[in-house]
């Protein structure tokens, strides 16, 4: 147990990369940004899931009132509406004028007046087509009955054409796409937030001039690695808290049937955060090390931030057709893979080879980025003052 050989400190202290990471974790966990951010993010996710579950469980019924002779249509109308998939509630209206007033006021959606064989529907601005069809069917049945057909003959005359769906649409599909989008947005926000933290942290050390003291005792690569690891762990912790809260809420609200909100999907999302964070944090740290003032950070990281925003926009382009060419190709390309592949995996069944390819390409580019960022950072870290040009920092 010789600490002397264990760490680069050489005099019994802990490895410097660990010390730097520990400082980041300690300070950031204590900060209001982390505590407040975690509470707000968790709250938004939980509220979002609860609202979604409420919306998913309820479609507002169409209120249809019958006045005068048309009241005889109520039963057949309700049956036809059910057959057509329209959610309706029927009621009797005593007076046509009062019924019209109710339609105008919005307390009634449709008012049916006139006789059973020749009814008229009154609506405010529009009437759902399946409600209209149900009403027409009911009137037609009434006319056939008036013509003397037996109820059995009427039923047979009005039998609907059976429809056979080769690929029936699962009503859960839409919900799943929305849930995947939500996952993508949370992931995107987290990647942006923690990537920015690394950029700000790098510039803080230049801006406050502590860099010179630090680099007199620790190699640039270790300082950078410690910072990225420390901030990454904080981000991982925050996402795990948010993810756990989301999973518990999903379980309690019974939305667990949506695949995008399952444990596997949320865990995959967190893993993609790790990979994406390594990619973006490394890139951010390289460009941020070129400037010495906090005001310059945003313009310095703009090229990387634009890539990240492009990835976000691609999510919207890819989600309607998550197995299409655009979605498939972009989801394996490193700058977009962390967000796009995560969203595709939530939205649909992605072939394993595509996931593997995306991970492999992203990890390979991370290795390259670490080399590049280490070089840029080491050369630019002590050049305080005006902005260092990228190629100057690269050449050293």
């Amino acid at each position: 147990m010789n600490a002397r050989s264990a760490g680069p400190a050489g005099t019994g202290g802990l490895p410097t990369t660990f010390l730097v990471a520990r400082r980041e974790v300690r300070l950031r966990l204590r900060s209001r940004v982390f505590v407040g951010g975690t509470i707000v993010m968790t709250g938004l996710v939980v509220i979002g899931i609860v609202v979604a579950s409420v919306l998913a469980g309820r479609t507002t019924p169409v209120l249809v009132g019958f006045a005068g002779g048309s009241q005889a249509l109520e039963r057949t109308f309700a049956a036809s509406a059910a057959a057509l998939g329209a959610n309706v509630t029927t009621s009797d209206v005593a007076d046509v004028a009062a019924g019209r007033a109710q339609v105008t006021a919005g307390t009634l959606d449709v008012l049916v007046t006139g006789s059973a064989t020749a009814p008229t529907a009154v609506a405010k601005s529009a009437i759902a087509s399946n409600v209209e069809s149900a009403l027409s069917l009911a009137a037609e049945a009434a006319r056939l009955a008036h013509a003397g057909l037996s109820p059995a003959a009427i039923t047979s005359a009005m039998a609907m054409v059976p429809v056979q769906l080769l690929q029936p649409r699962d009503p859960k599909d839409t919900q799943n796409v929305l849930a995947s989008l939500a996952l993508g947005i949370v992931l995107w926000i987290a990647l942006g937030q923690y990537g920015n933290m690394v950029a700000q942290g790098v510039v803080e050390e230049k801006a406050t001039r502590i860099m010179e003291i630090l680099l007199a005792t620790i190699e640039p690569s270790r300082l950078l690695a410690g910072k990225v690891i420390g901030i990454g762990l904080v981000g991982l912790l925050q996402l795990t808290i948010v993810g756990a809260a989301a999973l518990i809420t999903v379980h309690l609200t019974g939305l667990g049937a949506i695949p995008a909100l399952g444990v596997a999907s949320v865990v995959a999302d967190i893993l993609w955060f790790l990979i994406g964070f390594l990619f973006y944090a490394t890139a951010y740290s390289a460009v941020a090390s070129l400037v010495s003032r906090q005001e310059e950070v945003q313009s310095a990281i703009a090229p990387i931030a634009i890539l990240q925003i492009a990835g976000y926009l691609l999510v919207y382009a890819a989600l309607p057709n998550p197995t299409g060419t655009l979605a498939t190709v972009c989801s394996v390309l490193p700058p977009f893979a962390p967000i796009l592949m995560a969203v595709r995996m939530a939205a649909t069944d992605v072939p394993l080879w595509q996931v593997g390819l995306a991970v492999a390409l992203t990890l390979a580019s991370i290795v390259g980025l670490i080399w590049l960022a280490g070089r840029i950072y080491a050369n630019a870290a002590l050049r305080l003052g005006s902005r260092v040009r990228f190629m100057d920092a690269f050449r050293g």
Binding site: A9, G13, L14, T217, E219
Partner: protein, 305 residues
């Protein structure tokens, strides 16, 4: 038991240029263990560049820095306490925590670092501010923390760029005591300063740098040996040309009845006294030791000429 490894920080022929500007050229000197070395020179003379090269935050174009007879490795550099010209610590980090962190970065175990951090805060009169964020301290107190940061891990060598700037007289005394104490403990201490009185009072040896060259280096007494002798003469005799008429004698300053003369090397001061006595009564005849400030101006003036 000196052997080949000398307990000295040796700066051996270092040069550094920025584009067309030569910051340091072929600079050679050493700071011995147990010695307080004052590094003086005008702004832009090359002091900071030299110190940054010693710390390895800047690479020299030529030359080497050695400690204990061997070129400074990264591990050896980590044992140097450094106070850079551009002060810098984390503004939003508590003072004691920050010092302990720096102590650990320099290789101290956790508990030792915390103890040392509190010890130095106590020494600089900041014990009650240990849990304060650095940015909430006054500039003078931030400066004290900066000094503590250079000292916290018990460095083998101290390199301090303008450590006395911004300190109140009490803090200057504490700092001077601390530097003396570290030097007495066998640590080579080099610091730059424009406060030449302080350097003269405090330092064992002084190096004067100008345009990147060491133009004078040694004890203050040694620096004086190369300079010109000065004499104060207090005589109520009306201003006469008795002094200025002597070969190799120059009137430097007149203060009422007191006059200051500068003698060229080899000029006999008794001839000056006799000339004064011939002109009238002499109340005082006093040998003037030039201050470091005067020596400094003389040396810099020479190189300018």
């Amino acid at each position: 038991m000196s052997g080949t490894s000398r307990r000295a920080l040796e700066i051996d022929g270092i040069s550094k240029r920025y584009g067309e500007t030569v910051a340091v050229r072929d600079l050679t000197f050493e700071v011995r263990a147990g010695e307080l070395f004052g590094f003086v020179g005008r702004n832009g003379a090359g002091k900071t560049t030299t110190m940054r090269i010693v710390l390895g935050v800047l690479a020299p174009d030529a030359g080497a820095v050695r400690w204990l007879g061997a070129p400074l490795t990264f591990e050896a550099r980590r044992r140097i306490g450094y106070m850079p010209e551009e002060r810098g610590l984390y503004p939003r980090m508590q003072v004691a925590e920050q010092l302990a962190y720096l102590g650990e970065l320099h290789g101290m175990p956790d508990a030792d670092a915390q103890e040392a951090a509190l010890g130095w805060l106590d020494r600089f009169g900041l014990a009650d501010r240990r849990a304060t964020d650095l940015q909430a301290l006054s500039l003078g107190n931030q400066q004290r923390v900066q000094l503590a940061a250079a000292l916290v891990f018990g460095p083998d060598v101290l390199v301090l760029d303008e450590p006395f700037v911004g300190l109140d007289p009490v803090a200057v005394d504490v700092m001077a005591d601390v530097l003396r104490e570290r030097a007495d403990a066998g640590v080579p201490v080099i610091f730059s300063s424009h406060e030449l009185d302080l350097v003269e009072r405090l330092c064992d040896r002084v190096g004067i740098i100008d345009h990147g060259r060491m133009v004078a280096c040694g004890t203050v007494a040694e620096l004086r040996a190369g300079g010109r002798e000065r004499r104060w003469i207090d005589s109520p005799a009306p201003a006469a040309d008795w002094g200025a008429g002597l070969p190799g004698v120059r009137l430097v300053e007149t203060d009422g009845s007191r006059r200051l003369f500068e003698l060229e090397p080899g000029v006999d001061d008794q001839a000056l006294l006799q000339a004064a006595l011939a002109a009238g009564p002499v109340r005082a005849f006093e040998r003037m030791e030039p201050t470091l400030g005067e020596l400094f101006r003389a040396v810099i003036g020479e190189t300018e000429a």
